[in-house]
């Protein structure tokens, strides 16, 4: 049998030159394929970027990567479901493997001004430790951030301040239930106003010092939750194991359990992407099959001649497939390049603030920063190559099964 090394250059030469026999047709097909690849990758980058922002924001909105609670707290976040931090767990707060970690008191409360009152979640924080763990430290737009766990001040969301008809420097009263099931109330001066995204965070939360909250609720040094941030939210196993071992009898949960809706949203996005990839590819596949079929029908006599000269049918099949692969290869190279350039060009984000209300309703930011994920790029490339070759099989099979004499005499 002829060696493959001798045949391969012939196959490549024939495939390459045949592709450019109809330069315009090939360029049109190439443009369509590049457009398809581009739309797959850029769409994935936009969805992935938007999702990434959403997840990051939700994690900063008092979720963190890992949370520790008393077992019943997540179902009923009340004062009685508090816990004392075990010494071993307290030690992990200083673990170098954690980016940030802090304890919080987090209970339902009512905040009242002299005019209005509203139901909120009272969050007692350690201001220093909270930095890097949640949004609050970087969200003060008026006044100042809390200085210490025993700071007597209160941080109020801008929207809630408007609802309560109060302002920076004014006093409000916080009322909740203490450890003895008695009403605990205390007056606070508003020392800082914060903005938050989504706006529900502005209206639903007030922040005071951790020690102040513990005193007000008469819970000693006990807390409602402990939150921790790690360097990589997708690799939590080691930290989870360590913290679970240090917190016997407590519930140690990753963000995916604390915010299952985020995971669901991510899964829905993956399905949307897959559907998008399939729709785009289906459109591309029709064009590809059409182009290759036209090329095969035009060259019927040529394929007959090939067979007459002794080219095996599988080699003819291979030639059409190689033509398809070259076309797909060029399209992928250009598509990836254009996609990368597009994403790089959009590094400052796409501002869709004209639709801001709609975005906020679903908790998304109106400015989307596309994020290229290696998995999405790989998926787009693999789908195009694998399905592209499969789509090319029919024209290739047609070319290989001609009866030589019929092919040669066809006009």
């Amino acid at each position: 049998m002829p060696s493959k090394t001798v045949r391969t250059p012939l196959l490549l030469t024939l495939a390459w030159r045949n592709l450019w026999r109809h330069r315009r047709r090939t360029l049109v097909m190439l443009f369509a394929l590049v457009l398809g690849v581009w739309s797959m990758i850029v769409m994935a980058a936009l969805i992935r970027g938007s999702m990434e922002q959403h997840v990051k924001k939700e994690i900063l909105n008092l979720t963190g990567h890992i949370q520790v609670h008393a077992p019943a707290y997540r179902n009923d976040p009340a004062i009685e479901h508090r816990f004392a931090i075990p010494p071993a767990l307290a030690a992990t707060l200083h673990d170098q493997a954690l980016v940030a970690a802090s304890a919080r008191v987090r209970v339902p409360a009512v905040v009242s001004s002299e005019r209005e009152s509203a139901g909120v979640v009272l969050v007692g924080i350690d201001p220093q430790r909270e930095q890097g763990l949640s949004f609050i430290a970087k969200s003060i737009t008026a006044g100042q951030y809390l200085s210490a766990p025993d700071d007597p001040g209160l941080l109020l969301g801008r929207k809630l301040a408007e609802q309560l008809e109060t302002a920076l420097g004014r006093r409000v009263v916080l009322m909740s239930q203490d450890a003895d099931n008695q009403i605990a109330d205390r007056g606070f001066r508003v020392v800082g106003i914060f903005d938050a995204d989504p706006q529900a965070m502005e209206t639903g939360y007030v922040f005071i010092g951790l020690v102040v909250a513990q005193e007000m609720l008469k819970i000693g040094s006990e807390v409602s939750e402990l939150a921790a941030m790690t360097p990589d939210r997708m690799r939590l196993d080691a930290a989870l194991t360590k913290m679970a071992a240090a917190a016997p009898g407590l519930e140690v949960a990753p963000w995916t359990e604390v915010q299952p809706l985020l995971v669901l949203t991510e899964n829905v996005n993956n399905v949307v992407l897959l559907i998008w990839f399939t729709v785009v590819f289906a459109a591309m596949a029709f064009g590809l099959v059409n182009t290759l079929l036209m090329a095969v029908f035009e060259r019927t006599r040529e394929f007959g001649l090939f067979q007459a000269l002794g080219m095996p049918p599988r080699f003819i099949l291979g030639q059409v497939l190689v033509e398809s692969l070259i076309l797909l290869g060029i399209a992928l190279a250009l598509g990836n390049l254009v996609s990368w350039a597009s994403v790089a060009g959009l590094k400052d984000g796409i501002d869709l603030s004209m639709f801001a209300e709609g975005f906020e309703m679903v908790g998304m930011s109106p400015v989307i920063y596309p994020a290229l994920a290696a998995g999405d790029v790989t998926a787009a490339n693999v789908i195009v190559v694998v399905l592209g070759v499969l789509a090319s099989l029919y024209p290739a099979w047609r070319a290989a099964r001609y009866v030589p004499v019929e092919a040669i005499t066809r006009t």
Binding site: V6, T13, R17, P312
Partner: protein, 229 residues
């Protein structure tokens, strides 16, 4: 006797809607090795059909063909292609060349499929192109060659790998008399020096004059088989 081609009771019927057209009927033919044979006859007499059946490009309706002792009916498509690659050279009346390859690459095509190393291929291709007077046009594509030049390239491709059998349908069509004469002399040389068996289908008297055996076909039957010289 050593035969390159043996046809036994060969028949071919084409169907055009409900009408059966008998292109060949009961052809018994033995072509010894190194024969130089010409098939002649009016259009529709079955010359091209016989060439196609001998070359394994088409399947007979009845009877069988042997090439170099191999029964073509026993071969599948791939094996037939292999047989053509190794043992048979073709020259067609029209549409002979691969448009995307140059004259030299067209001549090298079969050798490349056979796995002949590049250097040897190029050397043989240039030598045969020189013999057919086209060495200066080796790098031109078929579209840049005249009909006669294309036909000479096709002949060069058919004989360059020295197959045991060359089947040529009107090989001198489109050639001027001088070029045709030179080409036929080259084919005679291949026939006598390299034991290549030639079967032509032609109306050209020049080809008939060069042939050592003349077979006349009429309505799909052999009506005359004359050996000369």
């Amino acid at each position: 006797m050593d035969y390159t081609v043996v046809c036994r009771k060969l028949g071919k019927v084409y169907r055009q809607n409900t009408i059966a057209v008998h292109a060949l009927a009961d052809i018994d033919l033995e072509i010894p090795r190194q024969d130089f044979l010409c098939l002649s006859g009016p259009s529709g007499s079955g010359k091209s059909t016989l060439l196609n059946l001998i070359g394994g490009l088409d399947k007979p309706t009845s009877g069988e063909v042997e090439v170099d002792g191999i029964r073509l009916a026993s071969l599948d498509k791939g094996a037939l292609a292999k047989l053509r690659l190794r043992r048979i050279g073709f020259v067609f009346q029209a549409y002979n060349l691969i448009p995307v390859l140059t004259a030299r690459e067209n001549v090298e095509f079969v050798m490349q499929l056979q796995g002949v190393p590049a250097e040897q291929r190029a050397e043989k291709a240039m030598a045969i192109l020189k013999e057919v007077g086209l060495s200066d046009l080796a790098d031109r594509r078929p579209g840049e060659l005249s009909g006669g030049q294309q036909q000479r390239v096709a002949v060069a491709r058919a004989i360059v790998s020295e197959p045991s059998l060359v089947l040529a349908d009107e090989p001198t069509a489109n050639l001027d008399s001088r070029t045709a004469q030179a080409l036929m002399e080259l084919l005679v040389h291949m026939n006598t020096e390299h034991n290549v068996t030639f079967v032509f289908s032609t109306h050209d008297k020049l080809v008939m004059d060069f042939s050592r055996r003349l077979i006349k076909l009429h309505d799909g039957r052999i009506v005359e088989d004359v050996r000369r010289g």
